[in-house]
């Protein structure tokens, strides 16, 4: 709980750049603190890059950006060994994946081969180049963006890969008042330049540890399990939420509780996070679409149906 104030400052910093997007900013921070990654599904120009830059600046972290294009190769992501004639050895030039905070822009524009290089790195925390395995340093936070799937010339991410993102967000356009405010602020000097670091890498890692050690009562764990298993029973669902989804939800809930300056998780955290954490892990049957059921509406519906615990669970 020592970093409670810093969390507030980080949010404040980012909000200088991202006006009216408290929810998305908070959720991104939740993902970062929970040691997870975020998939942003959005149209270009709504400020994804700006948010990530502000975040990395506040955290005093190394920021890298990869613009995915159809001709991008895996080595463009991971890095490549180059022969040094002077010393007669191959030297490894690390790719952008070795940054602390990585913005993977328009991830669905590139080939599945390149996509999987990134996703593998996210999951395994290391990359293999020319037979050599290189570990990635913590903190490591990927914010991938993709255009809405129906566009031409895209390679949609396989469902199994989506599971590797802690949450999927969508920013959307700002409302008119916020947009006007944005214009006012960027009139002379961009606010991103004013942002100063709040904490350093070391402190961020400590915060992540603290989040990890937060207490989750059995009552709440059972609630999570109930929620997740309910997604597998729904008649609209072809493939329900995986156990990885349960773990992710608990991790995210811990981080959210941490941001709320609370050292225990309550069902409200779960209720708040479930649509962002679980929606992209559910594969609906085709019939569901005809009946107007979407992934997030399904999660909301299940949340309304299962009973929130009122009494303490007796142990043993």
């Amino acid at each position: 709980m020592d970093y409670g104030n810093e969390v507030g400052q980080i949010l404040e910093n980012i909000e200088k750049v991202m006006i009216g997007k408290e929810r998305e900013v908070t959720l991104s921070l939740v993902a970062l603190l929970a040691d997870g990654h975020v998939l942003l599904e959005d149209v270009p120009g709504v400020g994804k890059t700006m948010m990530v830059r502000a975040l990395s600046k506040s955290l005093n972290c190394d920021f890298k950006r990869i613009q995915f294009t159809p001709d991008l190769l895996p080595s463009d992501v991971t890095g490549v060994s180059i022969y040094n004639p002077k010393e007669m050895v191959f030297e490894f030039r690390s790719g952008p994946i070795f940054g602390d905070i990585v913005l993977a822009d328009e991830i669905n524009r590139t080939s599945p081969k390149t996509q999987s290089a990134l996703l593998e790195a996210m999951e395994e925390m290391n990359v293999t180049v020319d037979g050599m395995t290189k570990s990635l340093q913590k903190p490591f936070f990927v914010m991938a963006t993709q255009n809405p799937v129906d566009y031409e010339g895209t390679y949609p991410l396989p469902e199994a890969q989506l599971d590797r993102f802690l949450m999927k967000l969508s920013m959307g356009y700002p409302n008119e008042a916020d947009e006007l405010e944005m214009l006012n602020r960027t009139d002379r000097e961009h606010p991103i330049d004013e942002i100063e670091a709040v904490i350093n890498k070391e402190q961020l890692l400590n915060m992540q540890k603290e989040v990890d050690s937060l207490y989750v009562d059995n009552t709440v764990k059972r609630y999570i399990v109930q929620l997740v298993s309910e997604t597998r029973k729904s008649p609209y669902v072809q493939l329900g939420v995986s156990p990885r989804g349960s773990i992710s939800l608990m991790k995210a809930a811990k981080a959210y509780a941490y941001i709320q300056k609370r050292d225990y998780v309550i069902p409200d955290d779960i209720v708040y996070l479930a649509p962002y954490v679980l929606s992209h892990r559910v594969i609906l049957r085709p019939e569901a679409r005809y009946e107007g059921v979407t992934q997030s509406s399904l999660i909301t519906q299940i949340l309304e149906e299962i009973d929130v615990p009122v009494r303490k669970e007796l142990h043993g």
């Binding site: 207490y215 009562d217 009552t219 709440v220 050292d263 225990y264 998780v265 309550i266 069902p267 409200d268 209720v271 949340l303 309304e304 149906e305 299962i306 009973d307 929130v308 615990p309 009122v310 009494r311 303490k312």
Partner: protein, 737 residues
């Protein structure tokens, strides 16, 4: 804020005033339908109770004011002695002792008027308390409004009380107040300083709508009742047997009409069968002399033998248009009917055995020679059914012959003045004799006169039969209606006479083969009837039917538009007979005089006669009211009882200092108070909603603490247990308040 307070007290005053006005409507009919007198005193007492409840909250002050005014009213009504003197107290204790003893022995009838009034005042006290609670505390106005409407509707239907004006008053008052109370309820949740402006923007449309609806309701045309009087039907369905103390007779035809009145029981034994073209009225005779108690003949009967069965007289003149028919009459029971029944326009009568017939042309009586030995002989009648032209009846301008005037305008000297005054009032604005007769004919059915054969009074010594029916009882059967019409017509110098006979009966289930338009009718004792004939100089005697629920089968038409008004609709009903029980009725009357009449007050001063009509209502009404009050009190106590139980439970929980049990208890009482938690609602969401609805903030604080207890590793409850405890207490007080 000051404005708000004044607005609230003004609105609550208006609510209470409206409650009082509505309750007044409950008291108003008492004077008419029961033997309660001095109703104004009871109204004043109710008003005192209402005002006291409004002005003070001090229970003792209320009690003292109400009981002192109760004593004052009783003193004013009954006690001659000086207030609080020794004698006064003695009388009081004596009264109480006597009446309590009577109550103890279930001799309700023996209770004195004093005690009845006392009980009634107590009832008013209770009612005022109850209404005050409904309006002021529970803010439930609607139930009482509905009850008031039901009460008025029932009284209007089943008693002589005319509820029309009361309905309108109740409608206006109750809807205005419903609008206002709705507004007050809405404003309870809104904390705004602009209430006063809102009041008018709310009340103006309410006012306009209510007044518009009222005016529209009053002036829009209304259907006549589809079922003019359900009482006889309900009574016959329920198998009700009258418990009147008056003489009870069997329905049927009787010759002695000198003492009319008294109750009847139904008798559906057949009298005769008739084959006729329609369910026409069967005439037997008319009578001309009204004695104040009944009908007699002014001259002796003078029978002439018929030659060849030709009658030689008619009730109407040659000018009247007629249609020729035949009819056959077959008497059924021996001795049932010693006279011949015949339709209007009879020309000729013959019997199968060629027996002789005798007739009295003055009263229209026909007897057969064989009536002594062979009563069941059937006879055939040729008749010309008359159709009266309404125009001609209106144009009848000639003078009545002196003989008719002399015989058919007779009225007893003892006839009260108000009968003729009423006749003048009814016919005010009518020019022609026909219109006057029609005005009187239709007066009864539109002015709350009720047709019933049970609990019908016999006029007492010195009381006029017609006067009693018109002004006192307003309840009776055909004799009451027809006699009253004849007497009122005569009071207007219109010659009229009283006619007896039978209505057309019902078509028999098994019809023999008959020519077209003819049917076989069965006529029973229940069909015995009396009606009215009015004399028109150029037309002769024209039948009228004043009795509620009956329709004149005689054909009337307007010359211009041809044949109108041929109504064949008939309700079977009954008629009278009264050779019997003359003595017993006298005995009854003597009893009445012996009955101790305690005081000069009219309250409860019922004699046996009146008890048959009003006294029952009085007691049934009182018992119902008391039951309603008890039910309400129990209902209210039930909630209190439950609250008490819940609080006890809380006291136990408090001792144990268990937050979980306490919180679950809180959820339980919230659910009982109509604020259940929905399934997917988290505790915080629920707490916010509860706080918003109750205007509290404690629920959220409690929930935060409870969450910590539920979900935290090592809850830090112990330290602010006391504060939490206070929060719980406040919350529970709020919920149960």
């Amino acid at each position: 804020m000051k404005k708000n307070i004044s607005l609230e007290s003004v609105s609550s005053f208006i609510l209470l005033l409206a409650g009082f006005l509505l309750f007044w409507e409950w008291l108003r009919p008492l004077e008419q339908i029961t033997d309660t007198g001095n109703v104004h005193l009871f109204v004043i007492y109710t008003a005192i109770c209402f005002v006291t409840s409004f002005l003070t909250r001090n229970g003792w002050a209320k009690f003292v004011i109400k009981s002192v005014s109760l004593l004052f009213i009783l003193d004013y009504l009954f006690l001659d002695a000086t207030l609080l003197s020794r004698e006064w107290i003695q009388t009081l204790t004596l009264e109480l002792r006597y009446n309590l003893a009577a109550v103890w022995k279930n001799d309700w009838v023996l209770m004195t008027s004093f005690f009845r009034s006392f009980l009634f005042l107590l009832l008013l006290w209770l009612m005022s308390y109850l209404l005050h609670y409904w309006f002021m505390v529970a803010n439930k106005f609607f139930l009482f409004v509905v009850l008031t409407f039901v009460y008025l509707a029932v009284l209007d239907t089943y008693t002589i009380y005319d509820g029309q004006a009361a309905m309108i008053r109740t409608f206006v008052v109750s809807f205005l107040v419903l609008g206002l109370s709705r507004y007050v309820k809405l404003m309870n949740n809104v904390d705004t300083t602009h209430r006063k402006q809102h009041v008018w923007s709310w009340m103006t449309p309410v006012l306009v709508i209510v007044l518009f609806a009222t005016i529209l309701g009053i002036y829009s045309p209304k259907l006549n009742p589809q079922w003019p009087d359900p009482v006889p039907f309900i009574q016959s369905t329920a198998g009700h047997v009258g418990f009147s103390d008056g003489p009870v007779q069997k329905v049927g035809y009787g010759e002695d009409d000198s003492q009319l009145g008294g109750s009847f029981v139904q008798d559906d034994s057949p009298v005769f069968e008739a084959i006729a073209h329609d369910d026409i009225y069967w005439r037997i005779e008319s009578k001309d002399l009204y004695t104040g108690k009944g009908w007699e003949r002014s001259t002796e009967l003078d029978f002439q033998e018929l030659t060849n069965g030709n009658l030689g007289w008619s009730t109407f003149s040659q000018q009247v248009e007629t249609t020729s028919y035949n009819a056959e009459v077959r008497p059924v029971n021996q001795n049932q009917l010693p006279k011949v029944v015949y339709p209007y326009g009879i020309n000729r009568i013959t019997s199968l055995d060629q027996g002789q017939f005798f007739t009295d042309s003055e009263f229209g009586l026909i007897e057969s020679e064989s009536s002594e030995q062979n009563q069941n002989l059937s006879y055939t009648i040729e008749y010309d059914a008359p159709s009266y032209a309404i125009n001609e009846l209106r144009d009848n301008s000639g003078d009545d012959p002196a003989g008719i005037k002399e015989q058919y305008l007779q009225l007893p000297d003892s006839l009260p003045e108000r009968v003729s005054e009423l006749a003048l009032e009814i016919t005010d604005g009518e020019d022609t004799r026909y219109d006057k007769a029609q005005a009187i004919e239709s007066y009864f059915s539109t002015n709350g006169y009720v047709y019933q054969i049970e609990d019908v009074s016999v006029p007492e010594e010195g009381e006029d039969y017609v006067d009693q029916f018109l002004f006192e009882t307003k309840v009776g059967y055909c004799d009451n209606f027809s006699t009253s019409m004849v007497v009122m017509l005569r009071a207007l110098d219109i010659p009229a006479r009283w006619v007896k006979g039978f209505t057309g009966g019902v078509e028999a289930a098994d019809q023999p083969p008959l020519p077209d338009d003819y049917s076989l009718y069965e006529v029973t004792n229940n069909n015995a009837h009396s009606w009215v004939e009015v004399y028109f100089p150029e037309t002769g005697w024209v039948p009228f039917e004043p009795t509620s629920g009956f329709t004149n089968p005689t054909d009337f038409y307007l010359e211009t538009s041809g044949d109108v008004n041929t109504e064949d609709y008939m309700i079977d009903e009954e008629e009278t007979e009264e050779e019997t029980e003359q003595e017993s009725s006298e005995v009854e009357q003597e009893n009445e005089q012996l009955n101790p009449d305690e005081d000069e007050s009219e309250v409860g001063g019922a004699d046996n006669e009146e008890k048959g009509n009003g006294g029952n209502y009085y007691w049934i009404g009182a018992v119902l009211l008391i039951l309603a009050i008890l039910a309400t009190i129990i209902y209210r106590k039930l909630t209190e009882l439950r609250d008490w139980y819940l609080l006890k439970k809380w006291d136990r929980l408090k001792q144990r200092l268990e937050i979980e049990a306490s919180y679950v208890y809180l959820l339980e009482i919230l659910e009982k108070r109509g604020m259940p938690r929905t399934k997917g609602q988290t505790l915080r969401q629920y707490a916010k909603e509860v706080d918003r609805r109750l205007g509290t903030s404690e629920m959220y604080d409690i929930t935060l603490a409870y969450e910590e207890y539920l979900y935290r590793d090592q809850p830090s409850l112990a330290k602010d247990n006391k504060r939490l405890h206070g929060l719980f207490q406040q919350m529970i007080d709020q919920i149960l308040a």
